[in-house]
């Protein structure tokens, strides 16, 4: 057991921190605009190109696909430092965390050649078209259909809650190629350019931070056969792997911990930080952020060694949800009505924390999986 980064990884972190402190000195304020806001997304476009030029957008990808061939820890350190600063990569964290790796694993040479370089250069946005009105937690109930027509497919159906679809160039889309009764065995993944005729994006007004939800309507959308990722009807395997990358890909506790530091500054200035009750709540929230950190680190250690995700990731993700919620609750408890003021240090955290246990696999689902796979509790 050893709980320190290797010398090389630690050196990488300190270079990165220096770089980010310089790059983000101006024009970037983590508390002012939330992830998902227009200002944020605009900022991220330029920032990500700068990162790409430095080789720090996709350092963990294999060199042949525009990566730096670095290990799991450097990738993770990158994510941690980004989330600490409120994720200045904007939606592109999804590209580098799971879209790219899924393409690398399942894509044809032609798909990789066409789709990976723009991601590695920081030029495109992708979104995730999984959820549907009747398929959330029960994702395998999805109904969007893809029917073969000649060499290609015709897509019809509706997606919902699609973050960044309003900005994205491509959608990593799930559709049913088999029958509904095939359940998980009738699903395929499509790499859909959102400029394709028949795709309509509508915004849904939400209040989870500045984040915007969208609906995606697909009406007779014709795509060529090379939009299919992997084999037909084998999409569920890809989904499983994608979700595993995604589950701990966003170290949200790092953001929560940074917000907590900001809240401590606020309380100190307000003369509240010496209050024993306030201190107890801070100690509680900080411990939850730290617990989430060590549990995520444990998953990264496993990834660095075996590369096969295990059920430990569910504990890590549940701990992240607990941390985000605790910091959100603290914000409202200690700041009082000041936390209700838009863009106050507590506002974004609280609203974000409402969605923390829903997006990317709900909290209850993590608990179900822990029960079954770690505690080996019986099914009904």
């Amino acid at each position: 057991m050893e709980f320190a980064l290797s010398e090389a990884d630690a050196a990488f972190r300190s270079d990165l921190v220096g770089f980010l402190d310089r790059e983000l000195a101006e024009g970037w304020n983590r508390s002012e605009h939330g992830l998902g806001s227009a200002v944020y997304t605009d900022f991220s476009r330029d920032f990500v190109r700068t990162l790409a030029a430095k080789g720090w957008l996709t350092p963990h990808w294999p060199k042949e696909y525009g990566g730096g061939g670095q290990g799991a820890w450097q990738h993770f350190v990158l994510g941690e430092e980004m989330w600490k600063r409120g994720e200045p990569r904007g939606p592109q964290y999804m590209n580098v965390n799971w879209v790219g790796p899924s393409l690398i694993k399942y894509g044809t040479e032609e798909q990789k050649a066409a789709l990976l370089p723009p991601i590695a250069r920081g030029e495109v946005f992708w979104c995730q078209g999984f959820s549907e009105p009747e398929a959330g937690t029960d994702l395998a109930a999805l109904r969007t259909r893809a029917v073969r027509e000649g060499e290609g497919y015709v897509l019809n159906g509706q997606k919902i809650w699609t973050s960044y679809a309003n900005e994205a160039d491509y959608c990593f889309l799930l559709a049913r190629t088999g029958s509904v009764s095939d359940g998980r065995n009738g699903i395929s993944v499509f790499l859909l350019p959102l400029s394709t005729p028949g795709v309509e994006v509508r915004r849904i007004d939400g209040f989870v931070g500045a984040h915007s939800f969208n609906e995606l309507f697909l009406t007779d959308v014709r795509v060529p056969g090379n939009c299919l990722l992997g084999e037909e009807n084998k999409g569920w395997d890809i989904v499983r792997r994608t979700l595993a990358y995604e589950r701990v890909g966003a170290p949200r506790y790092a953001r929560a911990a940074r917000v907590l530091d900001g809240l401590a500054d606020w309380c100190r200035a307000a003369g509240l930080l010496t209050d024993p009750g306030v201190q107890e709540q801070f100690g509680h929230a900080r411990a939850l952020c730290e617990a989430a950190r060590v549990l995520v680190h444990r998953v990264i250690d496993e990834r660095a060694k075996t590369k096969e995700p295990s059920p430990m990731a569910y504990q890590a993700r549940a701990a992240m949800v607990q941390a985000e919620r605790a910091v959100g609750d603290l914000a409202l408890d200690v700041m009082g009505s000041e936390a209700l003021v838009e863009q106050s240090p507590g506002d974004a955290q609280f609203r974000n924390s409402l969605g923390a246990g829903i997006a990317a696999g709900s909290y209850e689902v993590q608990l179900n999986l822990i029960s079954r796979l770690i505690l080996k509790l019986p099914k009904e």
Partner: protein, 309 residues
Amino acid sequence: MDFEPSDTQRALLDALGTLLSRHAGTQRSRQLAVRGAYDHELESELRAAGFLDLFGDSGAGPLEATLAVERIGAELGAITPVPHLLVLPALGLPVPEGPVVLADHERSGPVRYGREARQILTAGTDRCAAAELSPDEAEPVPSAYGHPLARVVPRRAEELAPGTAGTMVRWWRVGVSAEALGMMQRAFDLTVAYTKDRTVFGRALGSLQALQHRLAELSVLLEGARWLTYEAAFRGATAESSAVAAAHTMAALHRLTRETHQITGAVGLTREHDLHLWTLRLQALRAELGGLRAHRRAVVTSRWGVAAA
């Protein structure tokens, strides 16, 4: 980073496990509890095998000593592993025979093995004080919580060097977390096993989602406490890491006590069932150093540099 035990750590824990299977465990704990006795035999076995020297050992260190404290807690070792394996070595003090009491100047109250102990170490604001205890002056108090408790009166206190109180308190926090961790894991495992065996309404208790989620949440707390504790030991018990580990571990302890007893029903409340061997003893650990609330406040003083409330 490496979350897996090294070969040395594995070998060490195997050897300790073998020793504890002979000289500790539930049966031994039950026998000793009747007499309210400290386990001198276990202590001397551990000493002879070198486990009391792990902290400063070149082939081992504080993390290994912490792992050993956890195991001793799990096996209900009726000794005082925290001062013996962590606090005294961290202060560079000799490890005496028999129980040692840890205290802090802000709190009084009965202490574990107070009647048998000859030494008490008290954390002041800056320095520790080492004092003698005399059995004639100790006042045993009745308690259902497994540990023999007594009120004690320190004599001829000797002030140690400046700064020693901080070292003592930080390793105490890591130690009490490790000891609690070992005990909690056993109580948790017993409870999970119970839910698989017990049938209600024609199905296993453990198949009920209402209980599954509570157990799953407990496992998240326990694993968090585990890795925070190991990490704090690895980092040499810094002020923040040790306070965070203790705060999270004690939060887990509160929850675990309630849930294990709720989920095992009436049988879990009997002396015949083993659960109480861990859960009742855990309550003495919960009280140390001011408990959960004080650990949480210590997180704040160390992280954000504010004066203690």
